[in-house]
Amino acid sequence: MQQLISLRSRIALYAVAFLILLFLVLPVLVVMPMAFSSSRYLDFPPPDWSLRWFERFFTKPDWYESMLVSLKLALATVLISTPIGIAAAYAVHNGEHRLFRWIRNALLLPLVVPHVILAIGIFYIYVRIGWLGDFASLVLAHTMLAVPFVVTTGLSGLRSFDMNQEMVARSLGCSRPGAFLRVTLPQIKGSVLSGMLFAFVTSLDEVVLGLFIAVGYNTTVTKVMFGSLRDEIDPTVAAVSSLLVIGSLMIAVFTMMIGRGTKAGS
């Protein structure tokens, strides 16, 4: 296609592409300087520099405790959603019955159901059974949101893997779980890992469910951020945001590296 377009129109197209990319990246770039602003308002560029919002974040319990809750929650979500998601992906990949297509569709549903609906439904159930505010109840809800990502990445890994290898291991006397752990898993570990990262980020970034069910001691950091953005803007949000941006940058680079190795990433 390259030669089919005149140089002039290609330059024009690049200029447009540059503007679109700027639009995509600009907000991420703005967050960092805001975190070091001395101003209590949304002035940009900041009038002067200071660390006061980081200091506030690390000294105000509402903020750092909610961050701890979010991190613990994301970790627990990864620990639970990964094994059950990969097990389900394995079943869906190897099952030939029509049933398995239904299972796969059922496991992907959280991707398409609006989160507000899930949130009020789960909230209602949790209130009914008196489970609201419990840490485990949050983990379970986030696991539900994370499973589709683990299943999808797991499936894409299994598709590029030659199942005959597992058959060979089994015919040589290895048990099925043994063959999976020793032959299959090491070869799809890139996909499993990117599934884990998706699960982590999904949990960490989740807001809407948290607004309803992350109450009391188990308030998540995104819920605190949301409240502060909607009601009165507390610049501590910028400090938290920049921490999250750095975290997600590391995760993004990490996933891309895995993706290059296994072709399973996005």
């Binding site: 679109i20 949304l42 059950i84 389900a88 899930l118 009020i120 159930i125 953005l229």
Partner: protein
């Protein structure tokens, strides 16, 4: 035997998705005294403000989808023309916001779009406008924030599809005397159309469910369906009407996906992110 392996994951779905949604369906048919009724649904039709909110939600999603389609197609196409190293950088730049929390980005837009924000400073400074524009706490701000979140969902699948298009086909078309526009339409567009269609549906359906962006960048003026549901439950404890809205909302979303699912699997639609 194999099906047993999917049981834990299915159990989670059953407990946290099927049961709650089933409860909502049940609640939507019950009035405040506990007797069975369809009043919650008939009230939906009679309630003018709700109807307004529904049209607003659909219109907003349509505009966001249209912008994403045009902008996303342009960007994906431009990226395919770039030299290899520039492609890698560009794709990384598309992925960067994708990996950044939507809440963080919403905050950033608040900073950029406010009355004394960067965008307005540039616009006023370069004499493009005489006084700062109202870019946030309204529909415009909501739209900008939503387009920013949805754009990568459009770009990734489109880029993947465009990369597979054979440039020789176009050369052949041009060589046989077809015009550039005709060639683009019949050869290029037609081959990228499935991905464009998938992207459009995905962006449209996900845009219908937005809550955070309208709530913050809309400044209370952009009452989308998701916000009505939230308000009914949190503020008024109106479970019946809220569930009825939720059920209708869910049915339309699933209906859309079912129609598309005939042509494309849901998994493929979400390929961009996984």
């Amino acid at each position: 035997m194999l099906a047993l392996l999917s049981l834990p994951a299915l159990a989670v779905m059953a407990a946290l998705l099927f049961v709650p949604v089933a409860w909502l369906v049940a609640l939507s048919f019950i009035d405040e005294h506990g007797s069975v009724t369809i009043a919650n649904y008939s009230r939906l039709l009679a309630d003018g403000s709700l109807f307004k909110s529904m049209t607003l939600t659909v219109q907003l999603a349509l505009v966001v989808t249209l912008i994403c389609a045009v902008v996303g197609y342009t960007l994906a196409y431009a990226i395919t023309l770039m030299p290899r190293w520039l492609q890698t950088i560009s794709l990384a730049l598309v992925a960067l916001p994708f990996w950044t929390s939507a809440l963080v980005r919403t905050y950033a837009w608040l900073v950029l779009l406010q009355r004394k924000g960067v965008i307005n400073k540039i616009l006023v400074g370069s004499d493009l406008v005489s006084e700062p524009l109202h870019l946030v706490h309204n529909l415009v701000g909501t739209m900008i924030g939503m387009v920013h979140i949805m754009l990568p969902f459009m770009v990734f699948p489109l880029y993947a599809a465009m990369q597979r298009i054979d440039a020789d086909l176009m050369r052949a078309s041009l060589g046989l005397g077809a015009s550039v526009f005709y060639t683009f339409r019949r050869v290029y567009l037609s081959q990228s159309l499935p991905s464009l269609a998938a992207g459009i549906i995905l962006v449209f359906v996900l845009s219908l469910g937005f809550y955070i962006t309208p709530a913050i960048l809309g400044g209370g003026r952009v009452m989308v369906i998701a916000m009505i549901i939230e308000r009914d439950v949190n503020l008024h404890l109106n479970w019946g009407p809220a569930s009825a809205i939720a059920v209708l909302f869910l049915l339309s979303v699933l209906g859309l996906f079912a129609i598309v699912g005939r042509f494309l699997s849901v998994e493929r639609i979400f390929q961009g992110r996984a």
